[in-house]
């Protein structure tokens, strides 16, 4: 039965059909590298639950219950950061890994088959669009790697938001020869595209001496207010904009996608100070 009123959602919350979760998060732990015009413009970092996470390889999602039920809608979030930056609550889905130390077709897709599927406007199993991210898992050295979303043979590099196979023409250039570990950047797609449903291939056109990266697809859920450091930010998604995304992760077309509920830090290269996040959610039951 659909929940049609604010009171019903809160009543469901009281019945236990909902979540109250408080996470203390962790970021890179050391400074990352600022993005540039040829590396996605947006300086980003990924954040996870502080206990159990060792970045970049071991990630514990923002706390929820072990298996998110259908239709969990976050209606209130609060965050605290002692350093100034923006923050989004988001799902990330692992698309694969990229070798940066050799040229050629160096993308290895994750075992799960994309696109990620969700129920959208009542239609089950709809392919969703993701924002492609590259997250540095081993710092680069000596040379800034360069990537193009294509194969050496001229094949397509990604599937766009409309499902079209697309060969990239832009060269993504790492922002520094020494791009720091845990730097997160937005891959460059064509000007007429707004996201991807899958990454098919990435050609490393210029290699670094050292370096490695994971490729993720980001599904933004809720922006958690942006303020200066040490100011608590509240996001009321029930009254403040009616943004009620499902907290249940999407699923792979086949196989099991590696995914995390995480935060995306925006606009700073310093390690985020003492990030905290709590949120409430109610279930449509």
């Amino acid at each position: 039965m659909a929940v049609s009123t604010r009171n019903e959602l809160l009543q469901n919350k009281a019945k236990g059909y909902g979540l109250w979760n408080q996470s203390f998060l962790v970021g890179p732990g050391s400074g990352t590298t600022s993005a540039a015009a040829t590396s996605g413009f947006h300086t980003m970092q990924l954040g996870f639950n502080s206990i159990g996470t060792t970045l970049p390889g071991t990630r514990v999602s923002v706390l929820t219950v072990p298996q998110m039920p259908d239709n969990a809608l976050p209606f209130f979030l609060s965050k605290m950061l002692t350093s100034s930056r923006g923050m989004w609550l988001a799902y990330i889905y692992k698309l694969g890994t990229q070798v940066l130390t050799s040229t050629g077709d160096q993308f290895t897709h994750d075992a799960a088959t994309f696109p990620i599927l969700r129920t959208v406007y009542g239609q089950a199993s709809q392919a969703i669009t993701l924002i492609p991210l590259i997250n540095v898992t081993t710092a680069t050295t000596t040379t800034a790697p360069q990537l193009v979303l294509e194969t050496v043979a001229g094949g397509n590099g990604y599937t766009d938001q409309d499902g079209n196979g697309t060969r990239g023409t832009k060269t993504f250039i790492f922002p520094a020869a020494a791009t720091a570990i845990n730097t997160c950047l937005m891959l460059q797609i064509e000007n007429t595209d707004v996201g991807v449903k899958d990454i098919l291939a990435i050609r490393t056109t210029t290699a670094a001496v050292a370096g490695a990266a994971d490729i993720w697809g980001m599904e933004p859920l809720v922006p958690v207010s942006t303020f200066t450091g040490s100011i608590n930010g509240f996001t009321d998604t029930m009254f403040g904009g009616m943004l009620l995304p499902s907290l249940k992760p999407g699923v792979a077309t086949s196989g099991t996608a590696t995914q995390n509920l995480c935060v995306i830090y925006l606009g700073s290269t310093s390690s985020p100070g003492a990030p905290e996040l709590y949120f409430q959610a109610g279930l449509v039951t």
Partner: protein, 257 residues
Amino acid sequence: MAVVNSIDNIITSSQVFGGYRRLFIDRISGSTTTATNASGYTTAQRYPNAITLPSSFGTGVNGIVFTRIDMLNEDGTTGMLCGIEYDLGTLTISGSVFADGVAMPVKNIFGKSIQTCADMVFLVVTSALTATNPVITVTYTDQDGNTGNTAQLTVPSSAAAQSAFMVYPHLANNDTGIRDVTNLSTSTGTGGTIKAYGLLVLNAINFGTSLVYSRMNPLTYPSVPYIATSSEKLAFYRLHATTTNNIVAVVSGVADY
């Protein structure tokens, strides 16, 4: 009448019945123990004392709706919680002896009688443990009334008194809440006591540095307006810290009538 249905009702209630206001100070006098990914994922402490609400109210008063709760602790970069707390049961580690407590109550929420689940359940060490990593099995009734579901936490060795460990990250798949704890057990351990406390959260605060904080205002942000009834207890938790600590809190409410 649900007093929270309108600001006018709150103003009326304050004039007719007067407001409820309590100051609370308390101290965690010893260091507590850090949680792990097998024991809640978030480090927490429980202040040892609680506010016990009046044992009776005046004619026509159903209970108290808390319209404002301020909490201040002495250290930044921590979180604070205040909620109506229920003692769901006690485990004496030696011999794995369980003493049952209460179940979560039925509350009137926006005019509807609701069997509540705890917003959060903590395993709180009330007497320091001497076991080596005791595995605590929590047997519970879930949000749908299904009985016998279990959650397991491996509590850190020799966890100190007032350490609190969150149960919900370890619930069974598809569960989102606990109505009742029906058993607590451990297969190891020689000393110490653990209580399972269920919390209906009234307010939470995140602290930055220099004790800068903001509190969620329960009237202007969406939250469940739990009506506290006579003799219920308000408890306070501090998150993301293990050090000794003092709290000053002021809770304010109005009569639901």
